[in-house]
């Protein structure tokens, strides 16, 4: 990861980062035009010196991340991110360019958020028990608390138990696949649909790959919920993440509460990597 970051970041920024942060715990680097850099290690943010980010720094990062081919990342830019090697996701914010009333791309970038993925062996009895008796599982927490990390761990664990696991990885963040190369190990029985819009992937990949389990990150919107429920109806198990403070908020949401009818387990994360509880919606608490 250090090697990738040393290439991605301008050398002076990387040197500052290397000298002042524990690279093994680094999860985020935030750059805002004309402002100091902030980094997150173990979920805690700190300022990285007084250096104010320049436009040239953004040019460097985007040049490296897109292999000097920004034109090939239009759809990705319109969704506000670029996937880089090793599962690193670069979130981008700037001025939107509309085409026929729809967001076509971004220009005049003002902020970049580099998110560094981690594969962590989770030593948690509740999770191990959940994997042992696996059923449809929803992982909920606030952003940045480790939903994706837990999902990645569970995908690998299920794959190791020889479940054919299909990962719908639209952004390449779960698998770290960039240009066909997978950089994060998700197990031997895992298939990854990378770069395919999730709504398309649910229909096409489920038919073609016949998975036992579908894993997907960040369920969003009614259409996707319909797709997820359809998969469950077809007998495919689903493991998914959802941005939510707590289960009560999911229950009170008109849209997302529909998920709870068909999901058996809800894993709630209340702090950075802090798995609060595994709730069995059939009223069994693990």
């Amino acid at each position: 990861m250090e090697r990738l970051l040393s290439k991605l970041l301008p050398i002076s920024i990387f040197n500052d980062l290397f000298s002042s942060a524990d690279m093994s715990m680094l999860t985020e680097v935030r750059l805002r035009l004309g402002k100091p850099i902030y980094i997150a290690t173990s979920g805690r943010y700190k300022k990285l010196g007084e250096y104010a980010v320049q436009k040239e720094d953004f040019d460097h990062i985007l040049g490296v991340a897109t292999r000097s081919s920004l034109y090939a990342y239009n759809s990705s830019l319109a969704q506000g991110y670029i996937s880089y090697d090793g599962g690193i996701r670069i979130g981008i914010s700037g001025e939107g360019v509309l085409k026929n009333g729809e967001l076509s791309t971004l220009k005049n970038i003002t902020s970049i958020c580099i998110r560094i993925p981690r594969f962590i062996e989770i030593d948690n009895a509740k999770i191990k028990n959940l994997i042992k008796n696996f059923d449809n599982t929803l992982i909920i927490s606030k952003p940045g608390y480790g939903k994706t990390t837990l999902l990645r761990y569970m995908i690998k664990s299920l794959s190791d138990k020889e479940y054919n696991t299909l990962v719908l990885d639209e952004r390449g963040e779960l698998s770290g696949i960039v240009e066909g190369e997978q950089t994060l190990d998700l197990g031997d029985c895992t298939d990854v649909a990378v770069g395919i819009p999730k709504l398309v992937a649910y229909a096409s990949q489920v038919r073609s790959m016949r998975p036992d389990v579908i894993a997907t990150d960040e369920i969003f919107g009614e259409k996707e919920i319909d797709c997820v429920l359809d998969c469950i109806r077809c007998g495919v198990k689903v493991i998914a993440t959802l941005h939510a403070d707590e289960l009560a908020k999911v229950k009170s949401s008109r849209i997302y509460s529909t998920l709870l009818k068909d999901f058996r387990y809800v894993v709630s994360i209340i702090g950075i990597g802090n798995i609060d509880r595994v709730i069995d919606l059939r009223d069994k608490y693990a």
Binding site: K7, P10, E56, D59, H60, L62, G63, V64, T66, R67, S68, S69, L70, Y71, A72, N74, L77, V97, K99, S104, T105, K107, E179
Partner: protein
Amino acid sequence: MLKLTIGGILCFICAYLGIVGKQYYDRRYRYLRDYNDFLLMLSDGISYSKDRLPYICKKYVEGGKGAFCNNLKEYIELIDGGSVREEDVKKCFEYKCLKKSDKIMLRDFFVELGKFDYDTQLSKLESNRAQLSKALQQAEKDNKTTGQMLAKLGFVLGIAIMIILA
């Protein structure tokens, strides 16, 4: 006999200078023609298959030769290394047979290449091709007229000197 020998040497030098003069125009024309071929390939690569820039460049230089190919190889090293700075690009396309305006055209294009969204990149490419088309026409004309004239002039001058000395 001495006059004849000196005349012969001077004739040779004049003819050589004429050929060198022609080569200057010839090289510039070939360079710009290769650049034009590259832009065609780039346009296809971007618009049809959205290939990445290093891939398109490497595909072009594979088995290719000539000054433009050599300069493009330097540019590939640059983009492989990360950021593309104006002064580095300028050095890449510093070819002695190019006019100042050619060098500016190349530098401006390659500095900005790959830094725009799809639509903007294609329109930049088209505008550069239009600019190049004019330069290429001029280079072809210069090659045929001025270049050949220099070659002939050198040869004629050499013969004339030899005759005078003889």
